[in-house]
Symmetry: C2
Subunit: 202 residues, 2 copies
Amino acid sequence: MSELSKKQQIVSASDLLFYQRGYAATSFADIAEAVQISRGNFYYHFKSKDSILDAVISLRLANSHKLLRDWESCSLSAAERIGCFINRLLVKQTDIMRYGCPVATLNTELAKLNHPAKATASMLSTVFRTWLRRQFFLLGEKSSADLLAMHLLSRSQGAATIANTFGEQKLLQQEVQLMHDWLRTCIKLPAGNISTPSLASA
Amino acid sequence: MSELSKKQQIVSASDLLFYQRGYAATSFADIAEAVQISRGNFYYHFKSKDSILDAVISLRLANSHKLLRDWESCSLSAAERIGCFINRLLVKQTDIMRYGCPVATLNTELAKLNHPAKATASMLSTVFRTWLRRQFFLLGEKSSADLLAMHLLSRSQGAATIANTFGEQKLLQQEVQLMHDWLRTCIKLPAGNISTPSLASA
DNA sequence: AGTACGATAGGACAAATGTCTTATAAAGCT
DNA sequence: AGCTTTATAAGACATTTGTCCTATCGTACT
C-alpha cells in the first residue's frame, strides 16, 4: 500500500520542508522525523544534502511542467491560460501568505548562499517565463512577448512578497485583480471574463 | 580615529552580512572576522544573536527614515519623490542583482524561521508603505492612496526578485521604466519628466 | 604609583549538523 | 532451507554553532 518509495517520500517531504523553513534551516533530523527514518540512513538514498536539493528541484520542475501542460490541454484561449497563471496566487494564497512564493524564495536563498544549485533552481522561473512568453506570442504580441511575460512574472512575485510580509489577504486579492485588469487592457480585448476560468488546483 | 564604536561596527557589519548571506547563514565567526574581534566577546556588547538582529533592524529603520526624510526636504513634488523611490532600484542595482531586496529577503527569511523579530522587520516595509501612501495622498488620490502605495511596493519588490533570479540588468531597467510610465498615467499628468530627478544614493 | 573599570582575548561547553561506517533486518531468488 | 541483495537502524566522528566564563590588557582617575 506504500504508493511512494522511501526515496520519493524523502524528496516530497524535503520539498515541503524546504519551502516552509528554507533549505539551510531544514536539517536531516527534520526530514528524518517527517519520513520516519533513521538520520544516518539518508546516505543509502542520497550521497549528500545537496543531492536531495537537486532531486527536489527536479521534482518541482516536473510538477511545473505538468501544471502548464494541464492548462494547455484544457482547450482554453491563451488569454484564459494566462488568467490561470494569475489565479494561481489565489489558489495558493494560504501557503503564500505563510511561506511566500516557492520559486522566488528558493532562488533568493540560494543566491545568498552562493549555492551551486542556484542555476538549476532559476530554471524553475525560466519555465514560467518561457511558457508565458509563448502565450503572449499566441496573442499576437510578437515583439514584446518576453517583456510582457517578465512583467507579469515580476508582478506575481511582488504580490506574493507583500502578502507574505504584511499577512493581509486583501493585498494579494487586490493585486490579482489588477493583474487581470492589466491583462485585459494590454491585449486589447474590451471585456472578456478572463478572471473566471479554473481556480482548479494541482 | 575610530569614528564608530565597536558596538556600532558590529551592528553595521552584521547589517551587511545579514543582507549578503542571510540571517541564519551568518555566524558569529563571520561577524567576528569582519570586525576583528574575539568570538566569545560578543556577549559584552549583545546578550544574544537575536539582539544583534534587533539592533540591525533598528539601524535599517533609522536609515530608511533618514532616506525618506531627505527626499522630502529636497523641495521636490510628491510625484518626483515617488520617482526617487522607483529610481532607488537603479541606484542599488548591483546589490539587488546579487542579494535581492534587503527588506523583502529579510522578511521572507524571518517568516520561514517563524522568528520573533518578524513583526519588527515588517515595520521596515510599513515605513515605505506609509510614506508612499502619503505621497499619493498629496497627489489627490485620497481614497486609493494605500492601494497605489502597495501596488508600487509590490512591483518594486517583484522587479528586484526577478532581477536577482535571472541576473539580467535589463529586466530591472525595463521594470523601472514601466513603473515610471505607470506613475505618469495613474496620476493623470500628461508628460512630466518624472524619471529624471535624483539618482542620488544614501 | 596604585587602583578601578571598561574592553578584549581565549577557551570551555553542550547541542546540533552533515557525513560515514558497521551491523542488522527484510525480501527475493534458487 | 540457504544465499544474495536491498533497506534500515544505530551510532561514531569531526566540525560548527550559540552561549558563557575567566583571565588579562589598557586606560583613566586618584
